[in-house]
Symmetry: C2
Subunit: 236 residues, 2 copies
DNA sequence: GAAATTAATATGTCTGCACATAATAATCCT
DNA sequence: AGGATTATTATGTGCAGACATATTAATTTC
């Protein structure tokens, strides 16, 4: 319709997203109810349907809208808000906090994994595994202790890497992009790791276990325990 | 590998994304280096530039590419992989695990916040605060203990809500969409909460503190402590 | 030679149009 | 009525062209 809207008057998808977000927040559109379809909204905003589509698609991925072909777009009653946790290179994490980063390789050897690790990695039994234990420090203070199992059949190149300089973490992030994986974290007592983290064995620490895969092949299982004082922070 | 595939008349942006992803993983494009520009890629794939743009934009938000106008698109040396943690409705979380969900309101009263809470919420001093403590159970077993402070000036409506039936969590998720917030979690000892979580005071528990805002106005600060056996799981 | 100006370029986005796809609604057929 | 078929509809995506914007590179000016 209005094609004089060329020079600068075109509407941005961000502005539409913001407007729609405001309406959702103000409950101009009732939770659970349908909102106008793209054609109508495009008419209202005086823009192309593609622009409205982009805006609504964004709100859908942010978890505020639910969209289905033919069924239309409706406001989620309980928005699916999500926090994104960047899988960090510990080095960057530490440096970003303004501290000096240091990495120490504690142990590196071919080893036989315990049943729990075998199970997590779905090992058949014939695989060769590299076990790497290391400590990451911030300003000379222990920050995180890492105990890692690497499946050499999946990433054979790492066997020749000097892990006293580069941490396995960094090498893998750069060289072995996983296709998927799982992560879990929980609180536990430091136990023997207290030695490395400089805390009592019964001090509570946060531990994260991550398993990553290259398609069907397991890459690595890593268990990282943070120093008791550590807090993981996220923005919402 | 070149797709002169005109037969099906059009190439999908997903297929381009997948092809490019495979090339990145195979290091056909060297880490840190520029990849061909959109026009060239569109020519190669035999599609419109917009389609390539969509594919590359997706890979950029997934953290594999770095894009800048004029500077071009380059492969990230250390991909910024991210895990998304959905802020859960505890109810859904518990039910999804196959357990029966139960919620118990332990305490609800107007109260004066301690300095730490005041600081987190950036309170001036005149605000009225509602304090709500509750317990969430899975199959009759304590799952999470919640201690919450709600700023009534920001969400006055909640003062009239019957919180014995609906948890503050659920009401707020539905009625008070925050604009931003912060979250942090860490391990600590259960302390007095052991009473509710049915564990020893020195058992390690994972605690999460979340503060949410409606623009400049604080909505709520909540501290949630999970039962010692709880593990937070995420897919990568 | 250094600083300021101008050109060049890759990505970012909008428009209009077309067709694809999934899901629902309507209709037909026994 | 009930099941199968067909139409309808809202979103999903593709295309070509155009202009916007952010940088970087080249050029001019002092």
């Amino acid at each position: 319709m209005s094609k004089e809207g060329k020079a600068d008057s075109s509407v941005s998808w961000q502005s539409i997203r913001d407007t729609m977000m405001a309406r959702i927040r103000a409950q101009d559109y009732a939770p659970g109810e349908l909102i106008p379809n793209e054609v109508d909204l495009a008419a209202e905003f005086g823009c192309a349907r593609a622009t409205v589509n982009r805006a609504l698609r964004d709100l859908a991925t942010s978890g505020f809208l639910d969209r289905r072909r033919k069924a239309g777009t409706r406001v989620r009653e309980a928005p699916r808000r999500k926090a994104t946790l960047a899988i960090p290179l510990i080095r960057d994490d530490v440096i970003a906090s303004g501290a000096r980063y240091e990495y120490r390789l504690l142990e590196r050897k071919l080893d036989t994994p315990p049943p729990l690790v075998r199970e997590h990695l779905k090992l058949s039994g014939s695989e060769r595994l590299l076990r790497v234990q290391s400590l990451h420090l911030a300003d000379d203070v222990p920050h995180m202790f890492e105990d890692r199992w690497i499946v050499l059949d999946t990433v054979p190149d790492i066997e020749d890497v000097d892990l006293t300089e580069t941490s396995a973490n960094e090498w893998l992030v750069r060289q072995a992009h996983y296709t998927h994986g799982t992560m879990e974290f929980f609180a536990e007592t430091a136990g023997a790791r207290g030695q490395h983290l400089v805390c009592a064995p019964d001090d509570p620490v946060m531990t994260m276990i991550r398993v990553t895969w290259l398609e069907a092949a397991p890459i690595t299982l890593v268990q990282q325990s943070y120093s008791p004082s550590h807090r993981m922070r996220l923005d919402l």
